[in-house]
Each structure stands twice: as structure tokens, then as C-alpha cells.
């Protein structure tokens, strides 16, 4: 066998290994009704409720843009962040403190494959949410689909990876599973509030300028861009994507330095 063929076989084997692990991650996620409902159902129900409440109302400072259009873009970003950051961080703390990570580390499954499967699982859950949200927005509220698909897909993907890194990093800062839910969720919802998910945030306002350098606001504004919600021009929000990537890189450094497989308790 040539070296190239050997490498190709090895790569196929690695992909199969991760794919298999993702399958069991998916099983574990969807068979946990509370986890699935809170992660996926929350954004779906909220979009439906906010759409019903908004009716045909327009965003005052974005001429011609319906509020539900604004919320749809925001909740697409939220869906990715809830799966890749909130759910991932909490689940990693629980896994670490209950010994699941230790058991995984003691198995022959390589560490990179185990972590890759966790991240891919979060991305798959995000994709399911995005599809559900788009269908609800389109069918229920006649929201226009994004005009530029590639920037939207890339933005969501980059955001998913960066928020996964943030989720992993934050999980290393939480000392025990009792603290995981409150610490992660309160921090996340505070960032969402600052970023203007629950209400349209006027561009150029002090809060918008401040939160533009936190990780959540750039994700939301970068997702708006491909919908062309009064932002005009290209669908690529390079500055926002760059801010997200910087947060992702910083989170990766924290995660690598602080990561541990063993429980902190005891």
C-alpha cells in the first residue's frame, strides 16, 4: 500500500470514528427530553410567540423591516449559541463531574475524536434548530429567506465553532455541576440582553457600541447581514466574524490550558 493510500485510509478511519461517536452523541441528546426541549424548543417557541406578538409591526429605525424579520435573524444566531455555548458548557461540566469524561479518556477513543464529536454534535443540533426556525418564520410569518446563503452558512458555522470553543473554555471555569446551569445560563442571558436579542438595538447606541466587542452581538449582527435587514451591501460581516474568531481563539487558549478530564470535586 502506498503512503498516500495509507493516509487516505487512516483519514477515512478517523472520520468513521468521529461519525460513529457523533451518532451516539445525537442519540444521547435527543433521548434526553428535557435537554432537547430546553435547547431546541426554547428558541422555536420564543420565535413563534414573538412573531405572534409582533404581528406586522416594523422596526422603527430600520425602515421597511418587520420585527419578525429582525427576530428571525436574531433567533438563528441564538439557536447556534444555545447549542454550541450554553448546552455544551453545561453538559461538559456535568460529564466531567460525573466521571464520564474520565471514562472516555481511559478508553481507546482518541481525545481529539471525543471532543470533535461533542462539537459536531452541537453543530448538528444547531442546524436542526436553524431549519426549524426558518420553516416557522417562513410558513408562519412569511419571512423572506436570506438573499445571500453562503455568507449566512459561513457565519453560522464560524459562530458555531467559536461559541463551541467558548463553551468548552467556560466549562473549565465552572467548579461543579450544581453551579453549571446558573453560572452559564445567567452569563449567557446577560450577554443576549446586551446584544439586543430580545428587542431591536439601535445601531450606534452606547449599548450597541459596547456589546459589539463582546462575542454575542457580533454573531447576531453578522447573521443579520445576509438577510439584508437595512444593512445594505455585502452579506459578509467581516468585522463581526473577526471579533467572533478572536473570542474563539482566546477561548481555545483558555480551554487548552485549563482543560481536565477528571472531576474537580473531592
Amino acid at each position: 500500500m502506498s503512503v498516500a493510500a495509507g493516509l487516505a485510509g487512516h483519514r477515512r478511519g478517523s472520520l468513521r470514528m468521529v461519525g460513529r461517536q457523533v451518532y451516539y452523541e445525537q442519540l444521547g441528546f435527543w433521548l434526553n427530553p428535557i435537554g432537547a426541549v430546553f435547547t431546541v424548543g426554547f428558541s422555536v417557541v420564543f420565535l413563534a410567540l414573538m412573531g405572534a406578538a409582533a404581528g406586522d409591526a416594523r422596526v422603527p429605525f430600520l425602515p421597511g423591516i418587520r420585527e419578525i424579520q429582525y427576530y428571525t435573524a436574531g433567533f438563528l444566531a441564538y439557536g447556534v449559541m444555545s447549542a454550541c455555548f450554553n448546552n455544551l458548557a453545561i453538559s461538559l461540566v456535568v460529564r466531567r463531574e460525573t466521571g464520564l469524561l474520565k471514562r472516555l479518556r481511559l478508553s481507546p477513543l482518541p481525545a481529539w475524536a471525543a471532543l470533535a464529536a461533542v462539537v459536531v454534535n452541537a453543530l448538528v443540533v444547531s442546524a436542526v434548530q436553524i431549519l426549524l426556525l426558518l420553516v416557522i418564520a417562513r410558513v408562519g410569518y412569511h419571512v423572506a429567506f436570506p438573499r445571500q446563503v453562503a455568507p449566512l452558512v459561513v457565519t453560522l458555522l464560524v459562530g458555531g465553532v467559536c461559541f463551541s470553543a467558548l463553551g468548552i473554555a467556560v466549562s473549565t471555569l465552572v467548579p461543579n455541576q450544581e453551579a453549571a446551569g446558573p453560572v452559564v445560563s445567567i452569563g449567557f442571558f446577560a450577554l443576549l440582553f446586551l446584544a439586543g436579542l430580545w428587542y431591536p438595538l439601535r445601531r450606534g447606541s452606547a449599548m450597541a457600541r459596547f456589546s459589539a466587542y463582546l462575542p454575542v452581538r457580533p454573531m447576531i449582527t453578522a447573521v443579520f447581514r445576509p438577510f439584508d435587514l437595512g444593512t445594505g451591501g455585502s452579506g459578509w460581516a467581516w468585522h463581526d466574524i473577526g471579533v467572533m474568531a478572536a473570542w474563539g481563539a482566546a477561548a481555545t487558549v483558555v480551554a487548552v490550558r485549563r482543560w481536565r478530564w477528571a472531576p474537580r470535586r473531592g
Partner: protein, 350 residues
């Protein structure tokens, strides 16, 4: 026989504390080797270093011929070992079969899932969610996950904690069947009867050191040391021939501690037959493994006890040496190395 595990001069430090202090031992292929010791004795650190989960600060270690610290060989090592952890760590929402099937996929030559289900007695629970299993059933699933990869070496960390007596016997049978097939087992347990039932050899750790090592029957000289003879005097046939120091209680119970038990018994039974005494309740006992264990782990010199007081293992649990030293303060301090089995016991004290 080749050594499945060879440890020489192993050292592990946490800050200024030596949690494992120049520990050396060997485990032969197919052997069951039990590591006993109080919490904080260094057992977990030692085992985790062997598993490749924790790094070491000194000494050499070979597990199945592989250095567990060699990152390049870690997957090869993990394909050949099985681990049953103290913590119950299984995804709650998957079924028993799903968990076993997933883990079987990690190994190059796994046992068939149905065979493992039968071995651990969970065939009737194969499709049940893990969270619906009882505590004992979940521990059996843990054991199943430990053996699914057909390991050459199995680490059992307190494998029967929480089991009822019948389930414990079942787990012991599983371990015996594995060793019958050539699997090497390293066992940590707080149950002395478990060590006695399963282990070919036992090492007792205290204060980061191995303070005794030998077969369960000979550890600490318990097979040749002083025996205790007890019986009750009930008749009026006079006083039996008793050695000096025999204790006759007001209730008629007689206790004789002697290292010449055959001689004492011969005199005693000859007298009893002649006098028509039945000697009710007659027993001859040597020290139990637990007696020896308590002596060994409680007999550290005061300097060790002081060190242990501020000692913490990786998980942060206070070391138990101080408590043990208080519990048995007057027994042979400074002489923890007196075995009668040809000097198998070793101390790492300088």
C-alpha cells in the same frame, strides 16, 4: 512468568507533598493484585499513573510492556486495558445495549455485546435505559464496560461498593472467570474479604508507600504469628492446664494468646477428655487480614503522621494517615516490616 505490570521507584508529587513515594512492585500475567490502603494513601494516584491517566514525577513504569506516559503509545495501551471506575459514569439516556455497543466500537477485538450482557447478568435489561437500572445493575454495567474490550489487564476500583452480598459473589465469579482466561487484575478495595477472596497478592499502601506486600494469608505474618484460643469452662472438673498469661473471665470464658498453639491445644484437649469437659465455644483464631491491615496502616512513625496531616491527593481528599495513627497509637511504631513469608514485604523508608 512475565510481569504484566512492573513499577520501580514510582514517585508522584503534588506541590511539596509526595503522594507516591518510591513505590515498587510487580504484577505477573494472570495474577490478581489487590492494593489496599486508607483514603489518601496514594492508591488512586498509583493506579491512575498505571492507567496513563496521570503523569509521574519519578521512577519507571511498564504496563503490558508499554510506558503509560508515552503519549504515542497511549491508544495501544488503552486498547489492551479495561477500567472499572469507582464513580458510576454512564450516559443515563442510552440503553444498556447502546452503551455497550458504542464502547465495543472503540476496541480492535471486543467481546460480543450479548456475551458481556450474559456475563454481567444484564441480558434481561439490554434494552432498558441506563437511568432506569438499580444502583447494583449500573455497577454491573460498569463492569461490563470494563471487560467489553477483552482486556489483558483490568483495573477494578472498588468494584463491588454498593452491591448486596449476592451481587458481590456474582461479581467475584466474573473476576475469577476472567483471570481463569488469563486476564491480569489490579484491584483496589476497602473490603478485606474481597481482597482475601480474589487476590493472589496484596500490597498495603500508607503515606504514599507500600508498607507490606504478600499473599492475603501471610500478610504481616498472620499465618505464623500468635494465635488466640478461646473456650468456655462450664464443669467443676478442676482447672485445665493453661500457660502463664491465660485470661479466665468471670463468665467462664478463657482466652489464651500463644505462639505454641499446638502444644497448648494438645494439653487442653487431653485434659478435657480425661475430665469429661466439652470446651464449648472452642475456637482457634489468627489475626484477620483486617487486623493486619489496621496495624500496618496505623503504625506509621509520628513523622509520617505529621506529614500525612497536611497531605492531599490529587482529588484533594485529606490523607488518612493521621487518623489511622491515632486509632492504633501503640502498636509497633516504626516496625511495619515484620513479615514471616520470606521478606516479601518491603518498606520504602530510607
Amino acid at each position: 512468568m512475565a510481569g504484566a505490570v512492573v513499577v520501580d521507584g514510582l514517585v508522584k508529587r503534588y506541590g511539596a507533598v509526595r503522594a507516591v513515594d518510591r513505590v515498587s512492585f510487580e504484577v505477573a500475567e494472570g495474577e490478581v493484585f489487590a492494593v489496599l490502603g486508607p483514603n489518601g494513601a496514594g492508591k488512586t494516584s498509583t493506579i491512575e499513573i498505571l492507567e496513563g491517566f496521570r503523569s509521574r514525577d519519578g521512577g519507571t513504569v511498564r504496563v503490558l510492556g508499554i510506558d503509560p506516559a508515552d503519549q504515542g503509545a497511549s491508544r495501544r495501551l488503552r486498547e489492551r486495558i479495561g477500567v472499572v471506575l469507582q464513580e458510576l459514569a454512564v450516559e443515563p439516556f442510552l440503553s444498556v445495549r447502546q452503551v455497550l455497543t458504542r464502547n465495543a466500537g472503540y476496541y480492535p477485538d471486543p467481546r460480543p455485546v450479548d456475551e458481556v450482557l450474559r456475563t454481567v447478568g444484564l441480558e434481561h435489561k439490554a434494552d432498558a435505559r441506563v437511568k432506569t437500572l438499580s444502583g447494583g445493575q449500573q455497577r454491573r454495567l460498569d463492569l461490563g464496560l470494563g471487560i467489553i474490550g477483552r482486556p489483558d489487564l483490568l483495573f477494578l476500583d472498588e468494584p463491588t461498593t454498593g452491591f448486596d452480598p449476592s451481587a458481590r459473589r456474582g461479581a467475584w465469579d466474573v473476576v475469577r472467570s476472567l483471570t481463569g482466561g488469563g486476564t491480569t487484575v489490579i484491584l483496589t478495595t476497602h473490603y478485606m474479604d474481597e481482597a482475601e477472596a480474589l487476590a493472589d497478592r496484596v500490597a498495603v499502601m500508607s503515606g504514599g508507600r507500600i508498607v507490606a506486600e504478600g499473599t492475603p494469608g501471610s500478610l504481616g505474618g498472620r499465618d505464623t504469628g500468635e494465635a488466640t484460643i478461646r473456650f468456655r469452662l462450664q464443669g467443676a472438673g478442676g482447672r485445665p492446664p493453661l500457660p502463664a498469661g491465660a485470661d479466665v473471665g468471670p463468665d467462664g470464658w478463657v482466652t489464651v494468646r500463644t505462639d505454641r498453639e499446638v502444644e497448648v491445644l494438645a494439653g487442653l484437649t487431653t485434659w478435657a477428655v480425661r475430665e469429661g469437659e466439652a470446651l464449648p465455644g472452642l475456637t482457634v483464631e489468627r489475626r484477620t487480614l483486617e487486623d493486619v491491615y489496621l496495624e500496618l496502616t496505623g503504625s506509621q512513625p509520628a513523622s509520617d503522621a505529621r506529614e500525612a496531616g497536611g497531605n492531599r491527593e490529587a482529588g484533594g481528599a485529606p490523607r488518612a494517615g493521621t487518623r489511622a495513627a491515632r486509632r492504633v497509637p501503640d502498636r509497633g511504631a516504626g516496625t511495619p516490616g515484620t513479615t514471616a513469608d520470606g521478606g516479601r514485604e518491603r518498606t520504602a523508608r530510607p
